[in-house]
Amino acid sequence: MSNDIRIKKGLDIKLIGEAEKTVEQAIISNYCTVRPEDFHGVIPKLIAKEGTSVEAGGTLFYDKANENIKFSSPVSGKIVEVVRGPKRRIDALRIEADKSQSYKDYGKFNVDAAKAEEVKEHLLESGCWPFIKQRPYDVIANPEKSPKAIFISAYASAPLAADLDFTLQGKEAELQAAVNALGKLTEGKVHVSVGKNSNSPLAGLSGITLHKVSGPHPSGNVGTQINKIDPINKGEIVWTVNAQDLVIIGELLLTGKFNAERIVALVGSSVQKPRYFKTSIGSEVATMVYDKGVEKDGNDRIISGNVLSGKQVQADGSLDYYSNIISIIPEGDDYEFFGWTKPIFNKLSISRALTFSWLNPKKEYALNTNTNGEHRAFVTTGTYEEVFPLDIYPMQVLKACMYQDLDEMEALGMYELAPEDFALTEFVCVSKQPHQKIIRAGLDLMLKEIG
């Protein structure tokens, strides 16, 4: 059996502002922010109180629903503020970083000699567990259950995505250690997908099943790969880990240090010189975006993550727990005279309704955040299917989520889905429906009702 995955349906959104392949050390961030909202569905119970000090890798809080899942501090320093929202919900923990970093020592870990339970214990204790997510529901993995397989996508196809071949080069030892550990946690396989013509550091790992992926976005989405390799049935669980997070897990196993360092791409048409930075989780975006980046008072949107599924952050915001990319694009809060009917050359479209992006498929665009139209009921059909490679009916699933029919959601394949799988359908949606939000709400409902 060939392990190649070829995706035909999809859309590569080519944007201006791809990162140049140079890495700069970002200015060390004075403050580090950890936002519990990055961990969907987790209700944090604080261990570290305001005013106390933590080491890098020290536990900040744990999950109220499962006390074993602990969340570690990316830096060593003093917790200066616990930002709370309505009903005393914890919005963020702000940590003032020490000038010289000290790491909590979890000790070198011999993966080969360890049993599955010990590996699990070690990852939970050290705060590496949150990097492991599960499907169904796209939440942090439940450590009490065992997955049928683990999926890692080392191929990024999203617009302006950081090139994982580049950011992970030289990290083979860490990646191998992490993959070995993960391999102990499942009875099934560890599937790793790399780009077809790539030179991925993950391609040479042992103990994995390698897949070569080609085709347009969302071919790099792990959800697409799961669907093509070993789709999730009712009652089954798979785990997924971002390739760059394997490095953190691997380093912890090899050295005992929780090192939240990460190479991040600064991209987008608003950025003067798009390039890579070495920084760490939770760093202020201001440490990266202004030097040869954006104008200080420009009308731009800073996104932690990619332009399809990332989170908008303010200029004083910070890098979120999972992203390896900061995208900056112009805001589109302006009117356009007869914009709905005039021929369009500078925006992307999959139709040819006086939109001319089909003339030049290689062109790169500087898209802004304008919605290009107002929110409407679902009208057109067949558009989502053009960019949706899973063997699932996208519009029917969305509607089932909207009218909250659990049986139908289950029957139509919700267990396989995560919001990011609906990013492209949301992008092309003529009715400007919030697909990812609808799917997230649907998954949350299922998690609550079915579990």
């Binding site: 009917t341 309704a353 290009n372």
Partner: protein, 408 residues
Amino acid sequence: MSLKKKLHDFKVKNKDKKWLPAFSAIHTFLFLPDEVTHGGTHIKAADDLKRTMNTVIMAMVPCLIFGMFNAGYQHHIALGEIQAATAGFFSPEFWSMDNFFVGFWKILPLVIISYGVGLGIEFIFAIIKGHEVEEGYLVTGMLVPLIVPVDIPLWMLAVAVVFGVVIGKEVFGGTGMNILNPALTIRAFLFFAYPTWMSGDKVWVHGAVERDQAIAAGENLDAISGETILGTLAQGKEVAYSAADMFLGFIPGSVGETSVLLIVLGGLFLIFSKIGSWRIMLSSVLGAVVMGLIFNQVASAGIISESSKFYGLMSAPFWEHLLIGGFAFGTVFMATDPVTASQTTKGKWIYGFLVGFISILIRVFNPAYPEGVMLAILLMNVFAPTIDHYVVQGNVKQRMKRLKAKTA
């Protein structure tokens, strides 16, 4: 202060007013809104519903203009004032300003009534329900004048539009929620409420009804007969038009339905712009061809006699069915309505095929009214969700099978 700024300030100042959707409808017509994304994707593709609807309207404009010329042309021919066109599509007898203005002054009021009444209702409902005015009626409003006889009294059209928009669409929740194609609902209402104005041999040519009334009043004039080809065939009479006339559209019929040439061009434009579903169009033609061939076989095998009242339509060659009546127009512009058609890819094939198949079936067997496209599409509109249901169930079953194979 620019217009852009003025309108924006006006909108902000009145953002709590109930009538704001009415203003917004005009505002968003002039300017693409300044709305930005929040949550979800940060960028969006260029198309919105206005652009989609506008593309369909553009595809219909040639039919409308042709309809204006044809209305005058049929009128003048019936009066014996001009000769029939002989020089192909660009015959000067057809494309004369005389013809155009007769049609223009007859059809423009239809367009105005259709849009005026329909959009008026849309505005009222938008204000009552507090949502934006949706674009669905832009296409419906254009379809309506194209699928009625040219002499239809304006008040009838207005009543039908009110019925079609309120009962056919708004009670279901507006654009995107309706089960039946609103334009066809309007036509069906006209057809069942005022059948004498929707069928027969008097209504298809401008002036025929008037002339009839004058004759009845005792004036000594020749009656104008403007029967459609379907009407002629249904009566088993000889058709006076060539296939070229039918294809080019120099025949009597509803305003915009006659020119198959322009409808095909419009259809190709819709397929090219990826707005119309080529699957529905193609499968509908296939369905009609299959049904036509079956009838041809029945007729040539001598299963029915020449005296049968169905013989005329049954023996008409199958390809002729594609050229006459409203088949082409219905297939391209009405069966493809994404809201009321099947929504799944497989479903579209089935739905389209049955639209074509049943169109010809009803056309031949309906004794009262020799056209079946309207009824076939409405019927299939009702069945489209059922077709989709079974297509989706197929997908669900596959998933169940996968699970069983795993656990077995």
